[in-house]
């Protein structure tokens, strides 16, 4: 018989599961794309270098991420 976890453990698991579903869920590509975007823009913008490049890169990468996610959904729908 499986042992039942204590209340704090179950609450912690539930909390972690909520954030996982909320941020990753069925669109892991969007989560990965945002992490990638933040990494790229951080490299460009920190220390005040390449501000203009960051201004362009951030929204461009966001649009690109959305387009990729839709392309995936479109491919899945076409199968």
């Amino acid at each position: 018989m499986a042992t039942r976890s204590s209340l704090p453990v179950r609450l912690l698991k539930g909390f972690a599961m909520f954030w996982w579903d909320f941020l990753v869920g069925d669109t892991p590509e969007l989560f990965a794309a945002v992490v990638f975007t933040i990494g790229v823009v951080a490299l460009l913008s920190l220390d005040g270098h390449f501000n203009a490049a960051s201004v362009i890169a951030l929204p461009t990468l966001a649009v690109f991420a959305l387009a990729i996610s839709l392309w995936r959904a479109s491919r899945a729908a076409g199968k």
């Binding site: 941020l23 989560f31 501000n51 959904a73």
Partner: protein, 249 residues
């Protein structure tokens, strides 16, 4: 007074709250009509208290997080969340995903609830279904209110706007009863998606110490940019799948 930041904040909170309230109200109306109003309203009250406790608990705590980190994390969360909303709205507009039909959801919920035997006195099923409906839909609103409110240092404004949307939708819900399907939900969801991605981009940039040209004015630039991109993506998706029935006229 009406800076671009305030306009986008009010728009995002009000529309998100309205959309989620419509979804929650559909469930509550189904529970109330099928199993009686007492337990349904008790479930609604308990959910609202739980949501208010979350705002009261996490709101003041978030204020103590260093501003750059707060904006970076909030920006990232809003970018992901906003793109998820936009993706769903674009798929629905291009016919690749079924529209959110409140009438159908209402019918399904009523059928489910009728199967369960009604209890004498307090109805546990009615209480739990109403509580879950309001709490889960409200949780997204709480996250939007907390993230936008704390990052923009306008927590009180965000709470007032959310409360206003709750009162307006509740009143409209009582008046129109079961005609919630007339609410242009997908258009509103698209708008919320655009606004969340806008704020997500802006705060992520601020967190990464980007100096935006024109400061807050960039919010309007992003709204226009993402609205145009969304429209283009809907057209592209419709062209890629000409055989599916378009869900939006």
């Amino acid at each position: 007074m009406f800076s671009p930041g305030v306009v986008v904040l009010v728009g995002a909170v009000f529309l998100a709250c309205t959309v989620e309230m419509v979804e929650a109200l559909t469930i509550v109306l189904a529970v109330g009509h099928t199993r009686g109003w007492r337990s349904a309203l008790e479930g609604v009250g308990a959910a609202l208290i739980a949501l208010a406790a979350l705002v009261a608990g996490f709101g003041p705590a978030l204020v103590h997080v260093p501003l750059n980190w707060l904006r970076l994390v909030v920006g990232g969360v809003l970018l992901i969340f906003g793109m998820q909303w936009l993706r769903k709205a674009i798929l629905r507009s291009s016919g690749l995903k079924a529209m959110h039909d409140e009438d159908e959801i209402y019918r399904r919920k009523v059928a489910e609830l009728k199967v369960e035997h009604a209890a004498v006195g307090r109805d546990r099923v009615a209480f739990v279904v109403a509580f879950k409906g309001v709490f889960l839909e409200g949780l997204e609103v709480v996250i939007i209110v907390l993230t936008l409110g704390t990052s923009a240092h306008r927590m009180s404004l965000a709470i007032v706007v959310a409360a206003l949307a709750v009162v307006l939708v509740s009143t409209a819900g009582v008046v129109v009863a079961r005609q919630l399907s007339r609410v242009p939900e997908n258009a509103m969801k698209t708008s919320v998606g655009v606004l969340l991605v806008t704020y997500g981009t802006f705060w992520t940039g601020e967190g990464l110490k980007i100096t935006w040209p024109g400061n807050d004015v960039m919010l309007f630039v992003f709204v226009v940019l993402y609205a145009v991109v969304t429209w283009l993506l809907i057209q592209l998706m419709r062209r890629a799948h000409p055989n599916v029935d378009s869900a939006v006229s």
